[in-house]
């Protein structure tokens, strides 16, 4: 049971980080569908910097920095030029897929999967002297992810700037009329989401495993988008949605060991995520029929 719970936390952490970023954007009134590509870019840059420097933490820092910069590709067109964020996101997701595969061949000399003994992965909490039943096997980024959810929940509910961000999402003109610089907040939200996706990608590539493989975000960014849709502006609800996904992934993995075909295990998280979305949307419809 403890190993299962640990597997759930490991599977959930990258999705939670991406979803938290998506939630900040959605609260500010920008629909961020670029999470998938940013997670992938984060994973790649984390491995790149870890490989170059030999330090996992510099890998994490590199991923956060690079993915924040990558998020400019969404924030400048969508916020400054007011281009359709959905279309831009389709482009940046595709770009991330191509760019990571391209750079992987150019820098590491091969496609597919890159791993190397020189590649430094994140230490477990146990190795840092914090041994606990479920948490011990996790990387330090896992508790950070959950703490960030708590911090965001508090910030959006109580801090002045967090409340302003929500106000901007609810009524941009009204927020503008009291002197708030709407584009500034939105840029910050999109770039913040980039940083969080960088963190999520780093956890994916240096925490869950210690390697990079092409397309390794494998739809997690889309699950994060769904989590954002489920959550509205409530980070805790988003966390619950991500935990559901993490549980489905861990369960699928477990059942695969018991003879369930791999394809069923691959499909399960997406079907369960979609099912959760359907159930919640149906319940909301019942509450407030349109």
């Amino acid at each position: 049971m403890t190993t299962f719970l640990a597997a759930v936390l490991t599977a959930t952490a990258p999705v939670v980080l991406a979803a938290l970023g998506g939630l900040l954007c959605s609260v500010s009134g920008v629909f961020n569908m670029a999470l998938e590509g940013q997670l992938l870019w984060g994973a790649f840059t984390a491995v790149l910097f870890s490989h170059l420097t030999g330090s996992a933490w510099l890998g994490v820092a590199g991923a956060v920095l690079c993915t924040t910069l990558y998020a400019l590709l969404l924030s400048v067109p969508a916020v400054t030029f007011r281009a359709d964020p959905v279309v831009v996101a389709v482009g940046t997701n595709l770009l991330a897929l191509g760019l990571t595969a391209f750079l992987m061949r150019q820098i590491f000399g091969s496609g597919g999967t890159f791993s190397s003994p020189e590649l430094a992965g994140l230490p477990t909490l146990a190795a840092l002297g914090l041994d606990a039943p479920v948490a011990g096997s996790q990387s330090p980024l896992v508790p950070v992810a959950f703490l960030l959810v708590a911090a965001a929940a508090w910030w959006l509910g109580h801090a002045r700037s967090g409340l302003r961000l929500r106000g901007i999402g609810q009524h941009a003109e009204a927020a503008e009329s009291i002197g708030l610089r709407v584009p500034l907040y939105r840029h910050a939200a999109v770039l913040g989401a980039g940083a969080l996706c960088g963190l999520g990608g780093a956890q994916l590539a240096l925490g869950n495993v210690t390697l990079f493989s092409e397309g390794m975000s494998a739809g997690r960014g889309w699950v994060a988008v769904v989590a954002v849709m489920l959550a509205g502006s409530r980070p805790w609800l988003g966390l619950a949605a991500c935990l559901l996904f993490g549980a489905a992934e861990a369960l699928g993995f477990r059942l695969q060991g018991l003879g369930l075909p791999q394809q069923a295990a691959d499909a399960a998280p997406y079907l369960i995520t979609l099912l959760a979305l359907v159930v919640v949307a149906a319940a909301r419809r019942k509450e407030a029929p349109v």
């Binding site: 590709l73 482009g91 770009l95 391209f102 849709m229």
Partner: protein, 349 residues
């Protein structure tokens, strides 16, 4: 345009100003920059790209790749005209492909290639149509539901190809060779260019006509332009949304069937989704910037880029993923160009 400008210059200006040209030129510039950044000589890479697409017998492969890309472009474009994003192309491809293979195998080729193709189109249509009530009844955007349904569909097709329908004794993730009667007839001496080419071309023309000249085509465009206004004007929104998604999915499924019924005449796991037809097609449709007539042209451009990318990889050692980078950049630039065109003078923030 009051001054009597020479006609040729006016036309040239008009063409140069279209978002497609702007974004293509922009993307090529950026590609060149990327090449320079990674130390590749564009003077070597671009000729290699053209040779890879047209010379040394490669034209056949480029033409063969044009068919699925065009089909997937229409699969994306039909719902897109109604304002729905069909990102589930991979699932529709895979499900259509495995359905065609299953039908061809189970009938022993008795249905020639027609029955498997119809089955493939139906499978794709059903899969995509699932997203319609999710949007119209529950408010879940098609862009999310089509994508979430795509992964399980690809997994299902993969499972079927590996277990119930697998070729026995080889251990490969593929179905047995399909019966000869179900093979698509080739055009001329080519193995890879089949009657799929005229079939998809005719269907594309039919879509273009329907889009421009029929009442449902008009209603679909109205729906895409303004959902509530279309509803007010008497457009049956739910029904039309389902229709466009199903039609798009049918194209996706059909393309899957065409690939499987062409060489190497079997469903090979991963072979349908690996070339990335779905997203090349999406880039092409977005590049066409709302002009359906431009779609066959933009598809041709991106197919040449894609096919040429392989040649560039062989000759100049540039990873072919460079073309994916270009496609991604094109989409971003088109999105910006579309807004810049709609609002020539930016109003103060």
């Amino acid at each position: 345009m009051s001054s009597p400008e020479p006609r040729a210059r006016a036309v040239a200006r008009l063409i140069a100003g279209t978002p497609a040209v702007v974004s293509l030129v922009g993307a090529l510039l950026l590609t060149t920059l990327v090449m320079l950044a990674v130390g590749v000589d564009p003077g070597l890479a671009y000729p290699a790209l053209l040779r890879g697409a047209f010379m040394d017998g490669n034209l056949e492969y480029t033409l063969a790749a044009y068919v699925p890309t065009l089909g997937m472009a229409v699969a994306f474009a039909i719902p897109f005209r109604a304002g729905e994003f069909n990102l589930g192309g991979d699932g529709q491809l895979a499900l259509g492909g495995i359905t065609a293979a299953a039908l061809a195998l189970s009938t022993g080729g008795a249905g020639s290639f027609v029955l498997p193709l119809i089955g493939a189109a139906l499978a794709g249509a059903l899969l995509a149509a699932l997203s319609a009530p999710l949007h119209t009844r529950l408010g879940i955007p098609a862009i999310v539901s089509t994508l979430l349904l795509s992964v399980p569909a690809v997994s299902l097709a993969s499972y079927l190809a590996r277990f119930p329908l697998a070729e026995q004794g080889t251990g490969l993730a593929q179905t047995p060779l399909l019966p000869l009667a179900a093979h698509l007839p080739s055009l001329g001496a080519s193995t890879y260019v089949t009657i799929g080419l005229p079939l998809v071309a005719v269907l594309t023309v039919l879509w273009l006509l329907a889009d421009a000249r029929t009442v449902p085509g008009y209603e679909i465009r109205a729906l895409g332009a303004n959902r509530e206004f279309a509803r007010y004007g008497g457009v049956r929104v739910s029904r039309l949304t389902a229709l466009t998604l199903a039609a798009g999915g049918a194209f996706g499924g059909l393309v899957g069937g065409l690939i499987v019924l062409g060489a190497p005449y079997r469903f090979v796991d991963g072979a349908l989704t690996a070339p990335g037809y779905t997203f090349t097609a999406i880039a092409a449709v977005l590049l066409a910037a709302g002009r359906p007539l431009a779609v066959p042209v933009t598809v041709a451009l991106l197919t040449i880029l894609q096919a040429g990318g392989q040649g560039m990889e062989r000759e100049a050692g540039v990873p072919s993923q460079l073309t994916q980078i270009v496609q991604g950049l094109i989409i971003v630039i088109v999105a910006v160009a579309a807004v810049a065109k709609a609002r020539p003078s930016r109003r103060p923030a």
